[in-house]
Symmetry: C2
Subunit: 327 residues, 2 copies
C-alpha cells in the first residue's frame, strides 16, 4: 500500500508483456510479466493486459479504482491521442485496433498508448537522469534500434507520432535492402537481427568459429547471446561481428546527434548485453564521427532504469500533453 | 518610408553579404549586396555590415534609430545568446569573435546572430508558408547542405546551438573521408562541392563529355552551373552526375524525415538551379526511402522566399527566445 498516487505501466512486446504499479515518484511497487499470447488475436492480448493490470494492483494492495491511469508502450505506429494502434507488426495481424478505448472500457480507467521507446525515454528522462537536461536523446538497441527525444521538456512526436525512427535511418544508402523499402538501415547492422545476420555471414567463411558448435550447426539458431558467448570464450570471428555492429551503431549515434545536438545521449537496450566491446566500439565510433561541437556538448549515459524503463515510462504517459509537453 | 516596425536582416556569406530592411510582415523595403571582404580581417567585415545596415535604412527612408533590431545569419558555430562567433571557417581565420556585441556598439541597436540556415528556416516558416505547420524541416542545398527545424513553434537549437547539421550526417558510413572527421557525409555527394567532385570523377572516364570543353580542359574550374549547362545541352555524363547527386540528397531527406517526422519538408538552395531532374531525383528517392507513415504525413514544398529567405529570416531573429520559442 502506498500513500502517493499510482499509475500502471505496461510494456507490450512481441514475446512478453510486463506490467507494474508505479508511484508518481517513479518507484515500482509491484510487477508481473507474461508471455504475449498474440497468436490468439488482439482481443486475447487486451484481456491479458487487463488481467495483468488487475494482478499488479492487487499485489500492491490497491483497489483498481484508486489508480490514476494506465499507460501502454508498444512497438508500432500508434495514434497518440486516441490510443488506436494503426500497425504493430510484431503483435497483431489486424490494423487500426482501438486498443486504448477497449482497455479503458475493460478497466474503467483512462488509458494512454504510445511507442515503446518513446515511453522508455520518458521514464529515463523523469526518473533515470539527475535533473532534466535541456535535450535528451535515448537510443535503444534491441532486436531493432529505436530512439526517443525530449527537447526542452517536450517529447518529439512528429506529424504522425512517428518521430525518432533511428533504426530506419540509412548509414549505407546503396547497401542492403531493408523490409521498410529503404536500403542500409541502421538496424540491419546494429540491431539484434543485424548481429545475427552478420554472424551467419561470418560463419560462412570461417568453418572453425565456435558459433558453429554453439548453434549445433544450424545457423538459423544464431542470436546475439550466442555471439556474445562465443566472443567471451575468445572466438575472434564472433568478436569481430560484435565490434562491427558496435561501430555501425556509433555511426548512427553520430548521425542522430549531428541532427539533434542533444545535451544527454543515453544508450540502452538488450544489445548492450553483448558486452563492453560493443559499447566501446559504439562510443569510439561516435566520438570520431560526431561534429566537434556536438561531441563536446554531449554527456553520454548508460540506461539507468534498465528493464524497468518500459513500465515506468508507460506509467508516466498521462503526464504527456498532445503536443508532447511533459508535466 | 513605412508605418510599421522594421528590422534589418543580414545574410553573411563567404562570397557576398546581403542586407535588407524588412517589415514585421516580412516585406523587404530595401536591399543591398556587396562582396565579402573577409581577407581584410573580421573588423573590416563588421565595418562592411554596419555600412550596409546604414545604407539600407537610408534607402528605405528610415532613421537608423527607428529600426527595432538587426539580425545576422552566417554559416558557422555561433553562440545564440551572446552573438559570439566561435568558428566560421568560410569567413574568419580567428575564433570566438564577439561579432554581435561589436556590431551592436557600432550601430547602437540590438543585434542577434545565428546560423544562416536556421535564420532562413525562420523566414520561410513565418512568411513563406501559409499558416504555421506543427513541424517544419527546411533543407538548403548550396555549396554545402544545411537544415533547420521548427517543432510546435520552437526552432531546434540543440545543446550548443548546433542542431540540424544534416550536411554532416553520413549516408555512407564507410565512404569518402570528410573534412569534419567523419565519412560519407551527405554534402560530399549532394552539395555543390560534391557535385563538382563527382563531375571531375566522371570526366576522368569520359574524354568526350562536354564538361571538358566548358571548363576549358581545367577540371578544377568545374562547378554546379557548368554541370547544369552541360546536362541542359544533352550531355549524358553531366546528367548522370546531377541525377546521382539528387538521389543522394533524397536519401538524406528520408533519413532526416524518419527522425523528425515533419509536417512540411521544404527544399531550397542554389543547387535547386541544377534543374528539374535534380529535384525529381531527390523527391523520388525520398518517396521510395522514407517510412510509409512519414511519407504519407509530409507535405513537400519548394522554397517560397528564395534568395530573400536569408535576410527576411535574419531580420526576424529578434522573435526567437533563448529556448527557440518563436514569438
Amino acid at each position: 500500500m502506498s500513500d502517493c498516487v499510482n499509475s500502471i505501466g505496461v510494456d507490450v512486446g512481441g514475446t512478453k508483456i510486463a506490467a507494474g504499479v508505479v508511484t508518481d515518484g517513479g518507484q515500482v511497487l509491484a510487477r508481473e510479466r507474461v508471455a504475449t499470447g498474440s497468436k490468439a488475436g488482439y482481443e486475447s492480448v487486451i484481456r491479458q493486459i487487463a488481467e495483468l493490470a488487475r494482478n499488479v494492483a492487487q499485489q500492491a494492495g490497491l483497489p483498481l479504482g484508486s489508480v490514476r491511469a494506465v499507460g501502454l508502450g508498444m512497438a508500432g505506429q500508434i495514434e497518440g491521442g486516441t490510443g488506436i494502434v494503426h500497425h504493430a507488426v510484431n503483435l497483431f495481424a489486424e490494423r487500426d485496433i482501438p486498443l486504448g478505448p477497449m482497455l479503458s472500457e475493460a478497466l474503467g480507467l483512462p488509458v494512454t498508448v504510445d511507442n515503446d521507446v518513446r515511453a522508455s525515454t520518458l521514464g529515463e528522462y523523469l526518473f533515470g537522469l539527475p535533473g532534466r537536461p535541456a535535450s535528451f536523446l535515448n537510443v535503444f538497441a534491441g532486436t531493432g534500434v529505436g530512439s526517443g527525444f525530449v527537447d526542452r521538456g517536450r517529447l518529439l512526436r512528429g506529424a504522425a507520432n512517428s518521430a525518432c525512427e533511428i533504426g530506419h535511418h540509412s548509414i549505407d544508402w546503396q547497401g542492403l535492402a531493408c523490409g521498410c523499402g529503404s536500403r542500409g538501415c541502421l538496424e540491419l547492422y546494429a540491431g539484434g537481427l543485424g548481429v545475427a545476420r552478420q554472424a551467419r555471414e561470418a560463419m560462412a567463411s570461417d568453418p572453425g568459429t565456435l558459433l558453429w558448435l554453439l548453434c549445433e550447426r544450424d545457423p538459423g539458431r544464431v542470436d546475439g547471446r550466442m555471439v556474445a558467448t562465443a566472443a567471451g570464450r575468445g572466438d575472434v570471428t564472433a568478436a569481430g561481428v560484435i565490434e562491427r555492429a558496435g561501430q555501425a551503431l556509433g555511426a548512427g549515434l553520430a548521425n542522430a546527434a549531428n541532427l539533434l545536438n542533444p545535451e544527454v545521449l543515453m544508450l540502452g537496450g538488450g544489445l548492450m548485453k553483448l558486452g563492453e566491446s560493443f559499447r566501446k566500439a559504439a562510443l569510439e565510433t561516435f566520438q570520431s564521427r560526431a561534429l566537434a561541437t556536438v561531441r563536446r556538448s554531449v554527456r553520454l549515459e548508460a540506461s539507468r532504469l534498465s528493464d524497468d524503463a518500459g513500465i515506468v515510462g508507460a506509467a508516466s504517459l498521462w503526464r504527456v500533453g498532445p503536443d508532447g509537453t511533459i508535466a
